[in-house]
């Protein structure tokens, strides 16, 4: 159950629907996955595919109404999340499972010093005294790389840049040493340079604390370097699930392949035209019968428009929702072998330690 390297989180057949004017929106529709202790799971997909709602459901934070968790099971450390009282749930949220969002301002109180906001968490969850909580707050700000943490702890959120605010959020999220950190598009609003800082920080903190992470992002580059496993979502469903290496090497779903090919990237470049998935992300209130991706799919045939596809097992730890999963998978693996090796990027890095030595002179 909760041994080393055991399963931390298990989600089974989760369904979360919204009642709207347009009818029932099946935002999350039968999602299952597992997360092992110490691992990082990436969730990718276009906007509206149900990534955020999946994670809000785990924490029972779906606004209700219009939302409703229709069915499914979420086991955290073997404990059934949906069977807990609201009081017990509050003890898990923020303490054992913490969450950070794209826009830190939505979760920071603009009128409160950040020291106070950090202190409230450990006072609530760990029973810290004011003095203990203050020391912990400063320590956490130092951990996330806030220069001059003791002084800056007294600042208000608006006095920080976007990157610094995200660091404050991470400090808050990690102050109770949670077993699971859910990061929902944590770097989407940031510049690449600041994104690199935040991703390095998450990696380093993960190494130190062994926290498991769910990383939601629409950027396939980000998941490539950060995760062990990936699930690809489309229209509220898991379209593909695999280890990160396997997913990039041999995608077994036309949607995943399309996403990968639409990213302009030197090592994937084929012609001058960039591959484009035609059409628009689906309107979840009006899904076509059969495969929800069929109207945009290159490979679609009659059967796709008629019948819902099977979730095919392709490898030990690799599944794809597609009538032609096996064929797509074999083709990708074959293409991978015949492709030229990925470009080396190390030439961009400074050589060994020369710059640092100069600075010390």
């Amino acid at each position: 159950m909760s041994e080393e390297n055991g399963t931390l989180l298990s989600v089974r057949e989760l369904r979360t629907y919204f009642e709207t004017e347009d009818g029932t929106v099946k935002a999350v529709d039968g999602v299952s996955f597992e997360l092992k202790r110490g691992e990082t799971l990436g969730i990718v997909g276009e906007s509206g595919s149900g990534k955020s709602v999946t994670n809000l459901s785990l924490l029972r934070l779906v606004p209700q109404p219009p939302g409703r968790i229709v069915s499914g099971e979420v086991l955290f450390n073997g404990e059934d999340i949906f069977a807990l009282s609201e009081g017990e749930m509050r003890k898990i949220r923020g303490k054992r499972i913490a969450m950070i969002f794209q826009d830190p301002m939505t979760s920071l109180n603009p009128f409160m010093r950040i020291s106070k906001q950090l202190m409230e968490i450990t006072q609530l969850h760990l029973g810290h005294t004011r003095a203990q909580a203050y020391e912990r707050a400063v320590e956490m700000l130092e951990t996330v790389g806030m220069p001059d943490a003791r002084t800056r702890a007294r600042s208000y959120p608006h006095e920080f840049s976007g990157g610094m605010r995200q660091r404050v959020m991470i400090a808050m999220a990690l102050s109770c040493e949670p077993e699971l950190l859910i990061a929902d598009e944590p770097t989407t609003a940031l510049d690449v340079t600041i994104q690199a800082q935040i991703l390095e920080l998450i990696k380093e903190l993960k190494r130190k604390t062994g926290t498991s992470v769910i990383l939601i992002t629409h950027d396939l580059g980000v998941v490539a370097g950060m995760t062990d496993h990936i699930i690809v979502m489309y229209a509220g469903k898991v379209f593909e699930q695999a280890t990160t290496r396997e997913l990039f090497a041999c995608p077994g779903n036309p949607y995943t392949k399309g996403l990968l090919r639409s990213v302009p990237d030197p090592s994937h470049e084929e012609g001058t035209e960039l591959y484009q998935i035609p059409g628009l992300p689906p309107d979840v209130a009006r899904l076509p019968p059969g495969c929800p991706f069929a109207p945009r799919c290159e490979r679609a045939e009659e059967i796709c428009r008629r019948e819902y596809p099977p979730f095919v097992q392709l490898n030990h730890d690799h599944h794809s929702l597609c009538h032609f999963a096996r064929e797509v998978y074999d083709k990708s693996c074959h293409e991978r072998e015949s492709r030229k090796p990925a470009q080396e990027f190390t030439l961009n890095a400074p050589q060994s330690d020369s710059p640092a030595t100069e600075q010390n002179q």
Binding site: S47, T193, E200, P264, Q276, T357, E358
Partner: protein, 382 residues
């Protein structure tokens, strides 16, 4: 001749930069930007600063601070840099949507920066803009048809039925069904709204378009659609783009050349692929090394330059090289000398005192050396 940094600074304004040839070999300059500056005066400082510094203390944001570059007909010039570096301000100043403080923008041998309002209105139809957030830039109370027709009517390019035909044509060109001509912007998705913005920008048959982060708010699959659309339109209509984006992968794909901006200054100019594969200036190196690559094998093996801190404030920019506060290669002299933009390799310009045409690779420069200080490289901008 060995010139000191002071000599660089006092050098006469560079001759037209015709050697920055576009990669296509087409060297017909469409827009020539010369020492362009846009400074925003924020008024006096805080009370304390005014007491300390007397009446002379004013807080000025040097959003664009001496930019010189040629944009060639038919090319896509990519403009990259972190947010707050002045990309949008530069784009707007070129079109004179923001008044430049000084400098020139030559188009058709006329200095746009000095045209009267009326003369500028005449040129306006040649110079259009596409915005990041199409929603904010489209009037919510106008139908798609009215939005696209507006420039046609403003510039009196057609009337009545002919206008209507043109609007329908434009909608088809950008991949929108003319059936939607009576719909309002809110009824469309982000990608479709960007198509409306593009159709509107095309309506006056411009020669030059500034596209300010046109794909940043869109999903990857939709980004690919918009990039392909813009490339196709460029081929069909011989358009010239200034394509602003913080997405270096996208820039590498769409741009012929790329200019890198830092705190109001251009710090590197090169062919897009060269800049991406072999950046010379440390800031560009850091930017490119920060871009995540969608390939786990590459990501795992990769050494990344993680820059410390944020872009410094444009109100009190660092002395010397604007990048020195974050540069892993800085030496003492970087604090004092403003590096000129020098042609380090053919058609590849960079502003860094620690490299020179003789020693282009900073990794190979001896610790503490600054070959750029004594080099004879051709300077194109201070």
């Amino acid at each position: 001749m060995s010139s000191t940094p002071q000599e660089h600074r006092n050098a006469p304004l560079p001759p037209p930069v015709s050697a920055q040839n576009s990669s296509e070999g087409n060297d017909q300059v469409l827009i020539a930007i010369r020492d362009l500056k846009v400074h925003f005066d924020l008024g006096g400082g805080t009370l304390l600063e005014r007491v300390a510094g007397g009446a002379r203390v004013r807080r000025v944001v040097k959003a664009v601070d001496g930019v010189s570059i040629d944009i060639y007909e038919g090319e896509t010039l990519g403009l990259v840099g972190e947010s707050g570096c002045g990309k949008s301000t530069l784009g707007r100043a070129v079109l004179r949507l923001t008044e430049p403080t000084s400098g020139q923008v030559l188009f058709n041998n006329r200095d746009l920066a000095r045209l009267s309002k009326a003369e500028m209105r005449g040129e306006r139809k040649n110079l259009q803009m596409i915005f990041q957030d199409p929603y904010a830039s489209l009037n919510p109370r106008m139908t798609v048809g009215q939005i696209i027709a507006e420039p046609i009517e403003t510039f009196r390019l057609a009337r009545g039925k002919e206008t209507d035909d043109r609007v329908r044509d434009l909608m088809e060109t950008v991949g929108l069904s003319p059936r939607f001509i009576k719909r309002y912007p809110h009824e469309f998705s982000g990608g479709q709204r960007q198509r409306i913005g593009i159709a509107r920008a095309l309506a006056a048959r411009p020669k030059f378009i500034v596209a300010d982060e046109p794909i940043s708010a869109l999903d990857v699959s939709i980004q690919a659609q918009i990039m392909n659309l813009m490339e196709r339109l460029q081929r069909e209509r011989n358009l010239t783009y200034l394509f602003i984006s913080h997405d270096l992968r996208a820039i590498r794909h769409v741009a012929d050349r790329v200019a890198v901006m830092y705190l109001g200054k251009l710090v590197e100019i090169a062919d897009a692929k060269v800049a991406y594969d072999e950046p010379l200036m440390p800031y560009t190196k850091a930017l490119i090394s920060a871009v995540p690559v969608p390939d786990p094998e590459v990501e795992i093996a990769r050494k990344r330059i993680v820059l410390e801190g944020d872009v410094p404030s444009a109100i009190n920019p660092p002395s010397g090289c604007p990048f020195h506060t974050r540069c892993p290669y800085r030496i003492e002299a970087c604090r004092e000398v403003v590096p000129p933009l020098v042609e380090i390799k053919p058609k590849h310009f960079a502003a860094c005192i620690r490299i020179s045409p003789e020693q282009p690779y900073i990794e190979q420069v001896a610790p503490g050396d600054a070959p750029g200080l004594s080099s004879t490289g051709r300077v194109i901008a201070r």
